[in-house]
């Protein structure tokens, strides 16, 4: 996929351009967050325990990205392409159904 900094390669988060001629004229990013994911910065990752979840959706309301979505079964899921690992969901969850765990990459 094309980004400001060249062709994004499989698995790569950033392409380094070697020459000024490879840069576009203006500092724009081709594509939006629809194609450029923002979930590659985090250190911690929210993990949801469905057994403790009471479907109050406070996490869904508070997520600033918003990376929390409501699954077909009514429980909540996390879109890890956009989750930045801020932990607001875990902090706000009234039943402590969300825990922040160190992400292994």
């Amino acid at each position: 996929m094309n980004t400001l900094f060249g062709e994004r390669k499989e698995g790569a988060t950033k392409i380094v351009l070697k020459s000024v001629d490879e840069y576009p004229e203006a500092p724009i990013t081709l594509g939006t967050t629809l194609v450029n994911f923002t979930g590659d910065w985090r250190t911690f990752i929210p993990v949801i325990d469905d057994d403790k979840c009471v479907k109050c959706y406070i996490c869904w309301k508070f997520c600033p990205e918003p990376a929390i979505f409501i699954r077909e079964d009514g429980y909540v899921g996390v879109d890890y392409d956009y989750c930045k690992g801020c932990g607001i969901c875990a902090n706000e969850c009234p039943t402590n159904a969300i825990t922040m765990e160190k992400e292994e990459k």
Partner: protein, 396 residues
């Protein structure tokens, strides 16, 4: 091509700017009033109310910062955008000026040169626009109302060719509110000269979405600065071409970034920018009759700075009197500083002296030019400067 028959109108400098905006088929105008600029946007509003302009989005905003923000948004969608301001208003825009040039948006703005407060002043002084020197905006200084009109039309064409914003600068009251004959160009000929804008990118191309103003870390920021400088260098060439084309089509040649007036055999020249150069040209004619071999060098474009033309001029004269209607505190007149710096690594070393004149609208007359000529002649005969920076009008 249709035959060119100019339409002569008696208008103020501000109305000349408004007519140019109308003829340029500007699509978005951000409007916020500030003396002495207000009558530009008032006139544009009048055109709109009378149905004389079509397809214009007129955006009243709550500050100059917002005015430039509105222009940036409009320009990023591919529209031709315009605004006008003065002094404190321009200073309030400062942060946004960087966003415009950094995003490579060819916005055109008229700045009506006005002194910075305090003390509160609404009169002519170039320090407001020159304070924006390093924002990446091109700057054109108009000598008269005709040049305001021509300048706006050319600025759009140049800006849209190199993708940098441009400022057309006119003097408070001396031009903004003073009426003069301006030869305007029939709409169909303006349309030929200035076709619709072809944007570098557009936010409204929904099949190819883009993000503007994204993060550029230490690994990438530097390259984009270099590209702005390359665009400025390209602008020098484009200014020459567009100025020449304007001359061929409409009879007023703007191909030179420094307009030379009777400099061929001149011993020394007066160099400056804007409306005060009209006074200087008149004085040159009188001084020539009195036996002084003098000329005038009017710097039309301050950014990009006309280094090569200045060098050619400097090689041919013994002295340059730089007339600065502006000042950089702790140093000297801004044009003087630029001119001296541009010549340092060259073999052109005329005596170059700085006269600070007309700050805050202080009257500058033909007689003042004569006194400066007498002083320049004396120092050239002696071969050395008396003082480098002369606060010419100071009550001593």
């Amino acid at each position: 091509m249709a035959e060119y028959k100019p339409i002569r109108k008696v208008v103020s400098g501000n109305y000349a700017a408004a007519y140019a905006v109308k003829h340029a088929r500007v699509e978005v105008v951000a409007a916020y009033p500030i003396t002495p600029q207000t009558s530009i946007i008032e006139k544009i509003a009048e055109f709109l109310a009378n149905g004389e302009i079509e397809g214009l989005e007129y955006v009243p905003v709550e500050s100059e910062h917002s005015a430039m923000a509105a222009c940036i948004g409009a320009s990023a969608t591919g529209a031709r955008a315009f605004t006008a301001t003065s002094a404190q208003g321009l200073a309030l825009m400062h942060e946004m000026l960087h966003w415009a040039s950094g995003a490579r948006l060819p916005i055109v703005m008229v700045d009506v040169n006005r002194a910075m407060a305090p003390p509160w002043s609404v009169w002519d002084d170039q320090t407001d626009s020159l304070s924006q020197r390093d924002t990446g905006w091109m700057q054109f200084y108009a000598e008269n109302n005709q040049e305001v009109y021509d300048g706006v039309l050319m600025a759009f064409k140049i800006a849209e060719t190199v993708n940098l914003p441009a400022m057309v600068v006119e003097s408070a009251f001396i031009l903004s509110h003073t009426y003069d004959v301006v030869e305007m160009i029939p709409q169909e000929l303006v349309d030929e000269f200035l076709p619709p804008r072809k944007p570098l990118y557009t936010l409204t191309d929904f099949d190819n979405p883009i993000a503007v103003g994204a993060l550029g870390g230490p690994n990438d920021y530097y390259e984009f600065r270099y590209k702005i400088q390359k665009a400025m260098e390209k602008a020098e060439k484009v200014i020459h071409e567009v100025g020449k084309e304007f001359g061929e089509r409409f009879g007023r040649d703007y191909s030179q970034m420094i307009e030379l007036y009777r400099t061929e055999d001149a011993d020394f020249v007066f160099m400056g920018m804007g409306s005060l150069m009209g006074t200087v040209k008149q004085a040159v004619d009188i001084l020539r009759e009195e036996g002084y071999k003098v000329g005038a060098a009017k710097v039309r474009w301050f950014r990009p700075f006309p280094k090569k033309e200045l060098y050619e001029l400097a090689k041919s004269v013994e002295g340059i009197a730089v007339l600065d209607r502006n000042f950089s505190f702790g140093q000297e007149g801004i044009l003087f500083n630029e001119a001296k710096g541009a010549l340092y690594n060259t073999d052109a070393k005329p005596l170059i002296k700085n006269y600070i004149v007309g700050l805050g609208g202080r009257d500058f007359t033909v007689n003042d030019v004569r006194k400066i000529a007498e002083n320049m002649k004396a120092i050239i005969d002696k071969g050395e400067l008396d003082v480098e920076v002369d606060w010419y009008h100071l009550k001593r």
